[in-house]
């Protein structure tokens, strides 16, 4: 029997996580609903004035996305840790870095992508113009993988700890700040009628940086937590 190639292992890993997510659709959907509900609460708290809502929309949508993606981090490793799959993953001969990237990619597919797709809908609630809705979606498409990548470090480090959920937020939210600034900045630039390109480019640069460094830190964190 020949050993399967790394690529096919990665494909299986992504496929497995997607299947698991599909079997527990409620988890995925509740994160999505959390996002929609949080965003919808703001007009109720602040008042229905369109101009005000439009000016706070970028920040509100992005902060809600931050919180929602943080909630989804619990699914990344915790279940695999409990049933022992994670140990098996660590024991495979494939580089852990790539396996971690595959798991984060699968998480992003079920948490980040739906968020980015539904964002225009909540953007309409805030009276955002059409161009801006597009920028909002693009910024979330570039930004949510950053959130998943950075968040995975926190998820790995707090694996199996009591009160892990709250702890993750304390660890990870300060690290989300740059993504929030440039993501919301891109949307705001678009509302002001200027080009969002500078912000989007910086967001893209951060994605590249996070893609290189974060899985490495996550892999180190997993090894520490499972020692």
């Amino acid at each position: 029997m020949s050993a399967p190639s790394t690529l096919s292992i990665l494909r299986w890993l992504v496929w497995r996580d997607l299947t698991l997510a599909w079997r527990r659709r409620a988890d995925v959907l509740s994160t999505l609903f959390f996002f929609v509900i949080v965003v919808s609460l703001f007009p109720l708290g602040i008042g229905p004035e369109t101009n005000l809502l439009r000016s706070i929309a970028p920040g509100v949508v992005w902060v809600a996305a931050l919180l929602a993606s943080m909630l989804s981090l619990g699914r990344l490793f915790a279940n695999d840790y409990q049933d022992g799959t994670l140990e098996q993953i660590l024991l495979t001969p494939q580089p852990l870095y790539l396996l971690v990237v595959a798991k984060i990619f699968a998480l992003w597919l079920v948490s980040g992508v739906p968020l980015a797709l539904i964002a225009p809908l909540v953007g309409v609630q805030f009276g955002l113009p059409q161009d801006t809705l597009l920028v909002l979606t693009i910024s979330l498409f570039i930004g949510t993988p950053i959130l998943s990548l950075i968040g995975s470090i926190g998820a790995a480090l707090t694996l199996g700890l009591r009160g892990g959920g709250v702890l993750v937020s304390v660890l990870v939210l300060p690290l989300y700040v740059p993504a929030l600034i440039f993501g919301a900045g891109a949307v705001e630039a678009s509302i002001m009628g200027t080009s969002p390109q500078a912000n989007l480019s910086l967001l893209g640069a951060m994605l590249a940086l996070a893609l290189v460094f974060a899985p490495w830190a996550t892999a180190a964190g997993l090894r520490i937590s499972l020692e």
Partner: protein, 246 residues
């Protein structure tokens, strides 16, 4: 021939370091106290009143050294944690945990004194200025490190997990600083600037440097005292033996 070289690795062992730290503490604590008094005297009595800001500016003699220490101690903490992780040096990791609390304290002091200075000078306690915001986030990073370490019961795991977090934080600090600066210039045409430095009078500079040295010595003394507590807590046998031998 007597081998005169000191074996520095000897003091990488918590048991050997414990009595050494105990002996070193007064050598840092007493000069720190003296320098604090000298610095405060020079700062509050000798240094001239600023003609723009009046006497309110005098808080910078505490504020500026505290802010510097807050930033520097984070890097120091990450370096200790990284060394502890890479070389499996327990003492280095213990130093990182000891430094974290002092660093968080200085960051907090710099935020509080900064806002107290801001009220008479800017007319408001808090401005979303780039420096203020990044200092605030720096404090969140400290809090994250401390709460992660205190959530993990196994010391080895706590040390290593803290090291990963501290190193990730160190990479992030410059990114956060520049992004906040960028955000600030985008959001509001700088309504308030950190004061344009009037040519700083020599007594002012002297007071600031003395206070910085005092903060340094204080940090060393406090960190050594705290690391002794950590050694006692974690390695009870080692410490007890050392205590008996000393």
């Amino acid at each position: 021939m007597i081998n005169r070289r000191i074996n520095w690795y000897r003091y990488a062992s918590p048991g050997n370091f414990y009595p050494l730290a105990g002996k070193l503490i007064p050598w840092f604590a007493i000069p720190a106290a003296i320098l604090f008094m000298v610095g405060l005297y020079v700062g509050f009595v000798i240094a001239p009143t600023d003609f723009q800001q009046g006497d309110a500016y005098r808080i910078i003699f505490i504020h500026v050294p505290a802010a510097w220490m807050g930033m520097f101690l984070y890097v120091l903490m990450a370096a200790y944690a990284g060394i502890g992780w890479a070389f499996n040096a327990r003492l280095s990791s213990m130093m990182a945990s000891a430094v974290a609390i002092t660093g968080a304290m200085f960051t907090f002091v710099s935020l509080v004194t900064g806002s107290l200075w801001g009220k008479p000078t800017w007319g408001t306690y808090w401005v979303w200025d780039a420096r203020l915001t990044s200092t605030l986030i720096l404090m969140f990073l400290y809090i994250g490190f401390i709460s992660l370490q205190s959530a993990i019961e196994d010391y080895r795991r706590a040390d290593r997990a803290g090291a990963v977090l501290a190193l990730v934080g160190v990479i992030n600090v410059p990114i956060i600083y520049f992004s906040v600066q960028w955000w600030n210039t985008l959001h509001q045409g700088a309504s308030i600037r950190i004061l344009e430095k009037p040519t700083i009078a020599p007594p002012m500079l002297a007071a600031m440097l003395i206070m910085l040295a005092a903060c340094w010595l204080y940090s060393v003394a406090v960190v050594l005292a705290r690391v002794r507590c950590i050694i006692l807590e974690r390695e009870q046998n080692v410490a007890r033996v050392a205590e008996a031998g000393a």
